[in-house]
């Protein structure tokens, strides 16, 4: 699925689009506020949905080769986090939907949770 479509489904705002290649396809996603879990179980995921806002969210995505972070429930990263993400080519988005709804919308639209 095109990232643009994800943006439409979640009515999400792109936070660093000018600094990243946003013309990408995404297939898999995971949702978690626990970065330890993302590191342990978040392999081969293109998108991370999270309600956690701190620089380690960006670091975790970097180490796991996650391409897109979507902050749920209207949370917004700090300027410093946006700069770090842009430096690493990680796309940041923000949606007003809470975690459950955001994940459900993407799953219904065909984004996969990947293999267990």
């Amino acid at each position: 699925m095109k990232l643009e479509k994800i943006g439409q489904i979640l009515d999400a705002e792109l936070l660093n689009g000018e600094n990243c290649n946003i013309d990408i396809e995404v297939y898999t996603a995971c949702g978690s506020d626990l970065m330890s879990d993302v590191i342990s179980y978040g392999h081969e995921k293109d998108v991370l949905l999270t309600g956690l806002v701190n620089p380690q969210v960006i670091r975790t995505a970097e180490m796991m080769d996650i391409k897109v972070i979507i902050f749920v429930r209207g949370k917004r990263p700090t300027e410093c986090m946006i700069n770090l993400a842009s430096e690493k080519g990680i796309i940041l988005m923000s949606t007003k939907h809470p975690m459950f709804t955001a994940c459900g919308k993407l799953y219904s639209a065909g984004v996969s949770g990947g293999s267990v």
Binding site: D37, S40, T60, M63
Partner: protein, 142 residues
Amino acid sequence: MDNSLKLHYEIPGDDFALAGEASSNVKKILTQLGVNPAIIKRVSIAMYEAEINAVIHANGGTAEVEIDSNKVTIIIKDEGPGIPDIELAMQEGYSTASEAVRELGFGAGMGLPNIKKYSDNFEIESIVGKGTTVKIEVWLKP
């Protein structure tokens, strides 16, 4: 191998925002060297977990990294409280992380098991009251 690359990093203990900088830098260098991405990911995860541990459990430390054509060797050393029972600490889910650390998204007790899982050779030495040294080796060749 004759020429290896040696890197040294300070891991600050007082600024959680900086945790992961050393791992990030090593990841960048391995990418520039054209190392296989799957191997880079294993190095990145193992080193990041060890670096985070030095920050959240030991108030920071140092990382020595050596890259040659055969392997990456990472030694993360701290002068923190040490680990009284390493066998227990190695168990999946065991964590003494504070509530504050958990709120930052860490402390699931998967760090040491992950380091072991993603490295080809893993050694840990710890003396209570003196500190902890973690050695991670990942082979670059199959």
